[in-house]
Each structure stands twice: as C-alpha cells, then as structure tokens.
C-alpha cells in the first residue's frame, strides 16, 4: 500500500523540470538586464537616486550590474530613461562587460572562457563559500539543484569537499572573519580551479563595500573567472552562467 501512495504522489507531480533553462521565460516582473534610453533627464537626480551608486553619468549614462541591486528604484523614478528587461543572461567572465551604456540594447557579452574550462566540459563540481552572504544567494544557488532547475542534469553540482571541487562560488562581501577560511578553502581546491562570484555583495561588496568589517584582499590576489549579478542572482542567471563555462 505504501508504494501505491508514493506512486500516486509521483503521478500527481508530473513533469516538474524546466525543459530548456536557456530559453524559458521567467514569470512576472523579473528585473533583468536593463536598457537605458538616450532620453535627456536630470542626470544629477538620476545618479543620486541609486542606493548602490551603480549609475554613472560622467559622460554617457551607464549602469554597473556589478553594483546594481536590481531594486528597480531608478526605473520607477525615471521610467522613460531606464527599463529592466526580463533577460536573465547576465553572467560574464569580464567585469567590465557588466556595465550597460545608454542607447544599447544588446545581450551581456559572456566574454572569453578561462582556458581550463575545456577540462570541465560535462562535469563541473563546485564548493560554495558563504562569506557574510545574507543567505539569499545561498538560497538561489541551492534552488539550481532542485527538481525545477535541475542543474545536475548538466553535470554541474555543489560538493562538500573542496578537494572534490573544480572551483569555489563565493557569496557575500567577504567579512574579515571569513577572509582566512575563504583562502584556506581556495587553497584546498586542486588546480586548475575557478573563482565564481555570485550576487552583488560578492562582485562589488554592495552596500558593505566600505564597511570596516569587510576584507576583500582575497579578490585582489585572485582574479574572478565568472560574475553572476543579482540580489540575489536568479537561478537561471546562475545556471546559464555555469552552463556557458562548461559548454563548447
């Protein structure tokens, strides 16, 4: 009898995985890659309205997705100037590619893949390091492994030991108290290895960038190989970024 009730649950659930997570549309008002129009607005107010200091208007208006928390405040205040699209393909290997300029409406360029990526084709194991993350990016990294996003089908998985990993995924701005553990964990990963930064706090420090309790010296010593923007990064942003690394 107990098997029958399990089967009936299975049957009810039906198919839950997203068939193609590279093209699926996200529901609702997802705030993904922004588009900045060439309309003239009061640039001073526009720059000042961003709580993250992500908007620059020195020459042309630009928005840095490595600093952006995707709160949408600028788009609410200047709807004709900034609009967030539902494009979740935000991952890149080049930090500068995260800067969106006015008048541009093109996908974020993924950039050149680190050479070692050919070794991770079909199998990429990662060790996650939360370094003062607020448990939102951690949540979404976890969600990539659930039955909906099912990242495991592409051979991409989070593993317990850095010894089994091909790289580390850092979330959070890296607190002083986690700086050493982050370094030890990185050192324990065998070469060649990747450093992935997930979420605004990891990429730029976010609101914590100037906190005295933060120590980002690890990132001065080690170049990041992949940036996954968001606050938190959406599972589809994460999945597509990692997939782009491991696919030809």
């Amino acid at each position: 009898m107990k098997h029958i009730s399990s089967l009936s649950i299975l049957l009810r659930q039906g198919r839950q995985y997203i068939p193609d997570p590279t093209t699926v549309e996200v529901p609702g008002i997802f705030r993904g890659r922004p588009v900045i129009s060439e309309e003239t607005v009061d640039n001073e107010t526009l720059v000042a309205c961003c709580p993250m200091g992500a908007i620059n208007a020195d020459d042309k208006v630009s928005l840095d997705l490595g600093k952006c928390a995707f709160c949408g405040l600028c788009a609410r205040k200047f709807p004709s100037k900034i609009r967030f699209t539902k494009d979740y393909h935000l991952a890149t290997t080049v930090r500068e590619n995260l800067i969106v300029n006015e008048g541009e409406d093109k996908p974020i360029e993924f950039g050149p893949k680190p050479e070692c990526c050919s070794k991770f084709r079909g199998s990429l194991k990662l060790r996650q390091v939360s370094a003062a993350g607020d448990n939102s990016c951690e949540w979404e990294l976890g969600a990539t492994s659930n039955v909906n996003f099912d990242m495991g089908r592409y051979g991409i998985e989070f593993v317990a030991s850095p010894r089994h990993a091909d790289g580390i995924v850092i979330t959070g701005p890296i607190s002083r108290n986690m700086a050493r553990a982050t370094q030890i964990c990185y050192d324990a990963v065998p070469d060649p290895k990747l450093v992935v930064l997930c979420g605004v706090d990891a990429i730029s420090g976010g609101l914590y960038a100037d906190s005295e309790d933060i120590d980002r010296s690890f990132l001065q010593a080690h170049k990041a190989d992949l940036y996954l923007p968001g606050n938190p990064a959406h599972p589809l942003t994460i999945l597509n970024g990692l997939l782009a690394l491991t696919r030809k």
Partner: protein, 487 residues
C-alpha cells in the same frame, strides 16, 4: 521600579524611559519581570550618548500586549551579570561592543569576533573526544563553527561559535543615510527573512515619523509575511526530508516552494520578496489580477502539500528519525527565552501575532503549539503553520481593503530624542528592531535582533544525548540564521 509600557510598533520620548537609581534595583526589576512565563526579553542593549552609556532593557509582556522599557545609566565598567540565561547573549554583545564587564557571567565569551584561541568548553575526561565542524560546512550554507564533545557516537555537549558573518549591519544603518539604503540593509540583515525584516524596519520608521499606514498596506504586508512563512517552511520540510534520505519528500516540498516564491517575483520582482515592503506604502500593488493568481497558486499548492504531508505523517521510516530526536523541553525553552516556531514546538505560547498584535493580526489569532519539543514537533508546527497561513491569506483576500489615497512622503523626518520598537513574528520567530534618534532627529542607534539570537542556544541543548549523525536533522529543524545573528 516602574517601567515604561508602550505598544508594539510605537515610539516614545527617550526621557520617558525610567532610569534606575542604582544597578541593584534595575537588576532586581528585570529579574522579577523575566521570572514570569508571560514575559521575555525582546532586547537588551547599551545606548551610547555624549554623557556615557545607558543600559536599556525591553521586555515583551504577553498579558497586556505591551513592551516594558527600563534603563540604567552605566557609570562604572563592571556590574554583576543579570544571571538570567535568556539575557546572557545580550550581555555578551554589550561587553564586546562597549567594554562593560558583567561579573559572574556564566559564559563571558566573544560573540561576533572569531579569535584563534576561542575558549571552547572542554572535557578533560580521556574517554571523550571532540569534533570540530566549520566555519565552512558541507553544503550551500552559511558559516559557523560547531564544536562537539562526544562520548562514542553520543553528543555530550555542543558549543556554537558564531561571528563569521559579521559585516557591520547596525553600524552601517547609521552611516548610510539614504532611506532606500537603510531599507536594503534591514532586508539583508537576514536575506531569507527579507519581508519580515523590512516590515520591522518600516514600522519603526513610520512610528518615528508619526505616519499611519492605511489598512490596504497593512493587509498587503501581512500577506507578504505569511507567504514568506509558507515558502521557507516548505523549503525546510524539503531539507528535513533530505536529511533523513527521504527523496520523495525532498523533491516534492523542494518544488512546492517554487510557485510561492515565483508569486513573490510576479508581485515585486524578487523571489525572496526583497523590495516588496518599504516604509509608508507598498512599492508594488497587489492588483486584482495578482490576487486571483495568488488564490489559484495557493489552491494548487494546498492539494499537493496536503497529499505529501499526509504521507509523511504515516510513514514509519521517516517518523522513526524525527520523533524523540533533538528534544528541547518546555522548561529549557522558557529558561533560554526561546521564541517563535522553536518555542511553540516546545509548548510555549509565544507568538507576537497574538500577543502583540500588529498589521492585520489580532488577538483572535490562534498560534500552532506542540508539546514534544523534538524534530517532529518542529516539523508538525511547520506543516500546520503553512495551513494556517493559507487560511489567513484567503480570509484577508476575501475582504481586501481598498487602497486609500493618502500621500506618501518622499523624504521623512524623525521625531528627535525618541525610541521606537517593533516586534514582528517572522517565520523563525520574533524579529525586534529598535531605532533611537538624537536631539536633531538623526538616527543615533539602530538595533536588530533576529530570533536566532535566542534560538541558537536551543539547538545547543537539543542535540545533547543525541547521536552525532542526527546533528544535521536537528540543525535543519531549527534552520537558524547565521547572518541574522552576526549582523
């Protein structure tokens, strides 16, 4: 001595807080109040000003739905500890940040610093061994160090060393002056409780600026907070199943969380509800179409949820792992001042939604209370709270107030020399935000308390006498916040 009684989510002039003439009477009053089961410590902190430090105690009194405030002007650097287990951690915070020594404190250890020579509790019995885990754990999870003292496979003692996540949230609340920056900091105090935290933040800002939100905003916030509860409880049920190797439960609950958080994304653009709640008004309306969507989402969710939960409640191999594992007795829960879901699973009637009504919650709210205090009790509380949240959302949607056309201030000024306190029953339990302003109306102190601040001690107690292999399931049944504790 007298205390100042205020209601939840209101403010008072700082000068109204009665200051004890001597520490002995302050200590005695606090100890007397906290000896009652209907009172618990909501916060205890040191308030610095030009003249020195004032110790401020905030006690939640369930019998008359008030928050009792009292203070003491500290003139020396050493005072006897209150010697109340529930306030131990608060005294450690005051000692660490302000240098006051509490003599006779049972556990005078660092709270948010992580020194190499952390003074762990040690057994010198040669038959005992130690197991150290962390700060980095095996999984996608935040950092903290767990030190077990074991006899064979059995845990005799667990000591949890936190602080790895400390990033200076409370200090940044003062130095970042933009309203949106502060709202985001409050949200990221614990990103898995973004809605609960931003409700607490919004409430203190509204209290200090003398703003009354309309019923529509109150109902929307209530719905958002209950959705957060449903989502995380569901995710935790998934994790609990995962930790006892019950794949079906792990997969089904795991995927059931998705439609709930996807609804949050449809509503406010963020799956975790970041930006959903802001002071004064809802940034994103709960439109007619969204309300219909929500009812349909909950309807579909409920069928699958009920089927899965009924299965687990009758599944011996799962129950065998959950029952009588990780027990916290009612006496222990009360002694450590446990709050929220963990307290209710141990038989304590402690729910801010009932005891200190706010938003759309009223005294007729019925909290879910269980008595065994084990992993299964915490699992059942989650299951039944999900049901109760669904019912509450449905009844709120059935009688949705219209949006009023009150004007929302672009900027706000805060009442000078005042204190505002807000308690919110987040999914883990009671969140407490306290804001204090200086003579010119600037924020001079902002204190955040995550329910985990109380409940980490409950986990330490829960695992005693259990096998070390049951630690993960005990841990998951609480799912406490590292970042919310470390700030």
């Amino acid at each position: 001595m007298e205390t100042l009684k205020i209601k939840n989510a209101t403010c008072a002039a700082l000068a109204q807080i009665p200051l004890a003439e001597d520490y002995a009477s302050f200590r005695q009053t606090v100890r007397e109040l906290l000896s009652s089961e209907s009172c618990h410590c909501a916060h205890y902190f040191a308030l610095p000003d030009e003249t020195g430090l004032t110790l401020v105690m905030c006690i939640a009194n369930d019998t008359d739905s008030t928050l009792e405030l009292l203070g003491f002007k500290a003139v020396e650097m050493t005072y006897p500890s209150l010697a109340v287990t529930a306030t131990d951690r608060f005294e450690r915070e005051i000692a660490e940040n302000h240098g006051i020594v509490f003599s006779g404190h049972k556990w005078p250890k660092p709270l948010r610093t992580t020194p190499d020579d952390y003074p762990f509790y040690r057994s010198d019995n040669e038959e005992h061994h130690e197991v150290g885990v962390g700060p980095i754990h095996a999984g996608v999870i935040e950092p903290g160090h767990f030190r077990f003292t074991c006899e064979g496979e059995m845990i005799l003692n667990l000591e949890i060393m936190l602080g790895y996540q400390h990033r200076g949230v409370e200090r940044l609340m003062l130095s970042k002056s933009m309203p949106e920056q502060r709202a985001m900091l409050a949200e990221s105090a614990a990103g898995d409780t973004a809605v609960g935290s931003s409700i607490a933040f919004s409430s203190v800002i509204e209290a200090l600026s003398g703003f009354q939100t309309d019923d529509y905003t109150k109902v929307c916030r209530t719905i958002a907070c209950e959705l957060e509860r449903i989502a995380i409880h569901t995710g935790d049920l998934s994790a609990i199943c995962g930790d006892v190797a019950y794949q079906l439960g792990n997969a089904v609950y795991g995927r059931l969380r998705t439609p709930i958080i996807n609804f949050m994304q449809k509503w406010c653009g963020n799956r975790l509800g970041k930006t959903c709640v802001r002071p004064f008004a809802m940034p994103y309306d709960l439109t007619e179409a969204l309300r219909e969507d929500l009812l349909a989402t909950l309807g579909a969710y409920e069928k699958d949820f009920t089927q899965m939960s009924n299965k687990i409640r009758r599944f011996p191999s799962v129950l065998a792992r959950l029952e009588r594992t990780g027990t916290v007795s009612t006496e222990q829960a009360n002694e450590i001042g446990a709050v929220g879901m963990a307290a209710r699973a141990s038989g304590l009637q402690r729910d801010i939604r009932k005891s200190h009504p706010y938003l759309a919650y009223g005294p007729d709210f019925i909290p879910v209370v269980k008595h065994h205090g084990d992993v299964y009790a915490r699992t059942r509380v989650r299951m039944e709270e999900i049901q109760s949240s669904i019912s509450l959302i449905r009844s709120l949607l059935a009688d949705m107030p219209c949006k009023s056309d009150i004007s929302v201030p672009e900027t706000y000024s805060l009442k000078p020399s005042s204190i505002a306190v807000s308690l919110v029953e987040g999914w883990r339990g009671e969140l407490c935000h306290i804001a204090v302003t200086d003579a010119s109306g600037g924020l001079s102190c902002y204190k955040i308390k995550d329910p985990s601040f109380h409940n980490w001690t409950a986990l330490e107690l829960a695992v005693r006498g259990n096998e070390i292999s049951d630690f993960p399931i005990c841990n998951k049944s609480f799912n406490l916040s590292y970042c919310g504790h470390d700030l």
